[in-house]
């Protein structure tokens, strides 16, 4: 084996090297192109799709949560508006009721007032009628005391009427 040729340039083993290189590299190429590289590609694709799928799911959930938040806020606003309307309605109804009651009471009071006034004027006119008789009696007794004679009733009545006028 101890040739004087520089070993890498010794052509005697070129044939054997090429044959074994063809066998080993050919086998390696076959395994890489048929088994290893498609497998790695599948792994990478799988991971990519898993990650993007998870991200999609997360963003969908976020959207859902946002929608739920919006729905909650809408419900709250609706309830507030309804309560406001109810308060308004109640206030109007109560005011109307109070107004009606007040008016009824006022009308009642007015009627009573009118009745009382009528009674007063009636009693007044009746009292005034009595005043004539009392005045005539008083005048008759005054005259009797002073003169000792009973005055004529007609004269007394006319004198009272004159004094009243």
């Amino acid at each position: 084996m101890a040739t004087d040729v520089f070993p890498p340039f010794d052509t005697s083993h070129f044939g054997a090297q090429l044959v074994w290189l063809a066998i080993t590299f050919g086998g390696l190429y076959f395994l890489m192109s048929r088994v290893a590289l498609p497998r790695v590609e599948r792994i990478l694709e799988n991971r990519q799709s898993t990650i993007s799928g998870d991200l999609d799911k997360a963003s969908a959930m976020q959207r859902q949560a946002e929608e739920a938040g919006k729905a909650y806020e809408k419900t709250l606003a609706d309830a507030k508006a309804k309560a406001q309307a109810l308060i308004q309605e109640n206030a109007v109804a109560l005011a109307a009721e109070a107004d009606a009651k007040r008016k009824a009471v006022e009308a009642d009071l007015n009627a009573k007032l009118n009745a009382a006034e009528a009674q007063i004027s009636q009693m007044k006119s009746r009292a005034m009628a009595n005043v004539d008789a009392i005045a005539a009696d008083a005048a008759t007794s005054i005259v009797k005391q002073l003169t000792g004679t009973t005055p004529d009733a007609g004269a007394i009545a006319s004198a009272v009427a004159a004094a009243k006028a």
Binding site: M1, A2, F6, P7, P8, F9, D10, S12, H13, F14, G15, A16, Q17, L18, V19, W20, L21, I23, T24, F25, G27, L28, Y29, L31, M32, S33, V35, A36, L37, R39, V40, E41, R42, I43, L44, N46, R47, T50
Partner: protein
Amino acid sequence: MAASNAIDPIHQFEVHPLFSHEMSQVSFTNASLFMVIVSLAVTALMVMGTSRSSLVPSRIQAAAEMSYEFVAQTVRGTMGNDGMRFFPLVFSLFMFVVFSNMIGLIPYTFTVTSQIVVTFAFAALVIGTVLLYGIARHGMHFLHLFVPSGVPALLLPFIVMIEIISFLSRPISLSVRLFANMLAGHITLKVFGGFVSMMLATGGAAVALAPLPLAAIVMLTAFELLVAVLQAYVFAILTCVYLNDAIHPGH
């Protein structure tokens, strides 16, 4: 010769049959053994490492995925998505070369890529693929590779000649670059190793100086690690550049 084998820097490149004394065309040599070892190592990484195909990769699967993505990026970057048809070839070449270079750095091993016949076979494979695929895909149009457009008619013959010479020199430069880098690195390591043993054998003051070449070996080994990966990368990227000519000829 036998006595000086220990410090003979060339001895490590000798190819000899393992199971017989006669060299024949199919002898299983030490070179063949390491070709098998390299192929098995790459297979172990790429096939066994990915056998579980887990979503969260194990360490070895992560290494396999990184190798895949590194070469895939190189291929896409130089050839575009069209070049992915050559991805298995470039990947196999890169992995074979890088594992040969790295395994060859382990003491007492054999460096497959330190044999010119191996690197030239790879280069011929690449150039052969360029020629066959280029002509199969583009027919006579592929020859426009040698005729750049916009060249004055007077200069054209010279330019075409230069283009042809540069094309023919590609397999040579591709193979010699890798071969020479591996050869030179291993010879240098061996020479420095020889210095250490010679200085120790000399005795006296030389013994005290013996650690110096030893330190140099440590640094050179680190450098050789860089060269091993770098040369494999250079081989792969030049393969991509040449294959790109077959896909998109005519500059």
